[in-house]
Assembly symmetry: C2
Homo-oligomer: 438 residues x 2
């Protein structure tokens, strides 16, 4: 028996702009940040520890306080909830939060309020995992198809994915589930790295990191592009030489182009045998992505880190506008909405290759890739989940990668608890780091 006693939000900002990590054509000076949510209860977990849920969404600096304010608004709606009842109806608690019509008006289901809903529901999922003493991916993997379809947010999807079709996909994935879980525990889930590719890095730094990452088993590389075509040709040339002819090389323009520019620019890089162009234009431009896709094939089009909800993913998938579906664990409103997108992608047979990096995105999203493999698509053929080796030291139970793959950690919850040291140093504006530079 446990009740939620309070919900706390903390604005955490890391000064990543200082070394240009995270720099791309659209975002030259990102300070990677977390809108961090802590759900306090009066209960204890299976091990007798205080039962607490931790969640977050990711932003890049200014405005992180605004997301925290919105998360606090949702969090206040949780105070007094019974934790067991909540964990028994994770679809219900999600709808309870999502149905605040006054907050909904500010999206709806997009932008700050949706990021905030994600942060709060991520903490709710962490809490549910801790209550059960299981990692979130396993908590989900052990649910029946009926239980899973009940937590998926299928609102507005009925014309493409009625409940019966969602159930059918989940039922089909029942076969071989135990083998896939064993496979994950033994080998992990395939990943690729963006560590080398930031636009602000020198060629030397890029090549050094590619070599380092290769030692860690990462054989695919992604580069940021879009500021200067000559630079992009030079960087792609060097990266392709470094990794060899047959390994995946991807590029990411972070929305910097309009459609005609995207087509021209990507075709000028065709010689490098690219697996995908990521975010070639506005994340809202469904039909524009389709035009780019038609014009740059066989290079695939990848997008999704700014695709703001399941309804937008429905557009991209139905319009044939994406080859790779890049869900984001802080942009979509937690497991409930991600599961709906995994089902949509399975229905349209488009591989899910999640966005990660940022703060805590790797921690959360590897659970979702494992869920996809175990219980939805049943495959990791052609799939790669992003990995960036930064800021993991601020998590109590960070993700583990080995041989270029995300490993099963076994930690109860969503791997989202941050260290007290991180909070003390990087709370904004009063943490010790920010106090020292103002």
């Amino acid at each position: 028996m446990a009740t939620i006693t309070s919900v706390e939000t903390i604005d955490l900002r890391f000064p990543t702009s200082l070394d240009a990590s995270g720099s791309d054509a659209m975002n030259p000076d990102a300070d990677y940040s977390a809108s961090y949510v802590v759900i306090h209860t009066d209960g204890t977990d299976a091990r007798g520890h205080q039962l607490t849920g931790y969640g977050l969404t990711f932003t890049i600096g200014r405005g992180n306080d605004i997301v925290c304010a919105a998360a606090q608004e949702y969090g206040n709606r949780l105070v007094g909830c019974d934790v067991d009842q909540m964990a028994a109806d994770m679809g219900g608690i999600y709808l309870h939060l999502a149905s605040d019509s006054q907050m909904r008006w500010l999206g709806p289901e997009k932008g700050v309020v949706h990021l905030a809903l994600s942060a709060v529901m991520n903490a709710v999922w962490d809490l549910a995992g801790r209550l059960a003493g299981k990692p979130v991916w396993r908590l989900l993997a052990e649910m029946t198809p009926e239980q899973l379809v009940d937590i998926a947010d299928l609102r507005y999807l009925a014309d493409v994915l009625p409940r019966e079709r969602a159930l059918e996909i989940l039922q089909q994935a029942e076969a071989g589930k135990a083998e896939r879980i064993a496979d994950l525990e033994a080998a992990g889930y395939p990943a690729y790295t963006t560590a080398a590719g930031w636009l602000g890095y020198s060629d030397e730094k890029m090549l050094r990191i590619i070599a380092e990452q290769e030692q860690l088993g990462f054989t695919a590389v992604k580069l940021k592009v879009g500021a200067n075509l000559d630079d992009d040709i030079r960087r792609c040339t060097k990266a392709r030489e470094a990794i060899g002819a047959h390994r995946p090389l991807m590029i990411d323009a972070n929305q910097i182009w309009d459609v005609p520019t995207a087509i021209r620019w990507v075709n000028a890089l065709k010689q490098f045998d690219l697996k995908w162009i990521e975010e070639p234009t506005s994340p809202d431009d469904v039909l524009g992505h389709r035009k780019v896709r038609d014009a740059v094939a066989p290079i695939g089009v990848a997008t999704g880190e700014h695709c703001h909800n399941r309804v937008m993913f429905k557009q991209f998938l139905e319009a044939g506008a994406m080859d790779y579906c890049q869900i984001d664990a802080g942009r979509l409103a937690s497991v409930n909405e991600i599961l709906a997108v995994l089902l949509l992608a399975a229905h349209f047979e488009v591989p899910v290759c999640p966005h990660a990096g940022g703060v805590g995105l790797c921690e959360m999203v590897h659970h979702m890739s494992m869920l996809d493999y175990v219980a939805v698509s049943g495959s990791y053929e052609g799939r790669l989940t992003e990995y960036v080796d930064s800021l993991h030291e601020y998590f109590v139970h960070p993700v583990k990668v080995a041989n270029g793959r995300y490993q099963v950690t076994g930690d109860p919850g969503y791997n989202t608890e941050m260290t007290q040291a991180a909070i003390d140093e990087f709370s904004f504006p009063d943490g010790s780091y920010w106090a020292s530079v103002r």
Copy 2:
């Protein structure tokens, strides 16, 4: 010579939920609110008054403080700007605000940050109008096609509306401009009313208001629908009887349905000869709107009050998913983005019928309808701008309607200045009204 000295944001909330005005299937208890922005300068206007700009966006209660916080973030970027320079380059100041990449991440170009950008830029436009001593619509109407295309936000539109095409539309509208201005001054711009149609109203109240509005010259009526089909059939029957066979009757579902439900429900109301079904489903569901449109013709599909930016309007227009384009003066990022949507709509020959009501939306958007008529589409054939007779008493220069038409007021600026009495009473949470009920 004037410089912006400070920008102030004020959270204003009106307790409209008390009498169910504003109630619809999705939003049962809206407290109509304004995220209100005041730009202070050290200069004076043409009449020797203190030069100040006033702007706002509209929300429905909780979270209005969050929009104000985001508006303050943008507003701070204006402090120190030279007002004359700004007014001479209204495209430049817009891009300066829109290009904050850290804030952009929280949308991009949607949700809270976009509402906030709208509120701030609406105040900038009000300031520019006051500086020139002209209403905003006239300030714009007197610009050359080249000047107009320079202020329009055409980013991400090039595949559909390249700059040359936008310029061509504006140049074509030069013919007859003076006659259209004279026509507006004499007759005004056609409007319709939603005053009768709120879902929380009794049939008697609905019919009484329809009769009152008819006395004021409003011959078209819009009803909220979507909570209960039997109720909707009864209300439509009574409304159609009251207005007669040949006058426009529209319905508005405020996003309550999925696509199959929308098609079934609207077709069950076909006998009432409806002009349009507004917001049948999620405002992000471009392809879903197309399906609804195909299935309910000849009833038109109207949407746009939650269509979050010009790129989304591009989707709807290119996909053939809307018959009526309902721009919103607080959802789109001010004149700069609205002008881009007016141009898109003209290109696709779709009539613009703006959303209004709320707080201050009528005040702002009638300028945009007049701009459309004078300088873009050149026509009000088939076009109607929404009007709701509420909360105008809180504006210093409220809109005027006569004979069912928005009248030219002649007041310099954007009609967005609110009264000190409104601020004193309805500031949240410390205004006299809110203090009295807590």
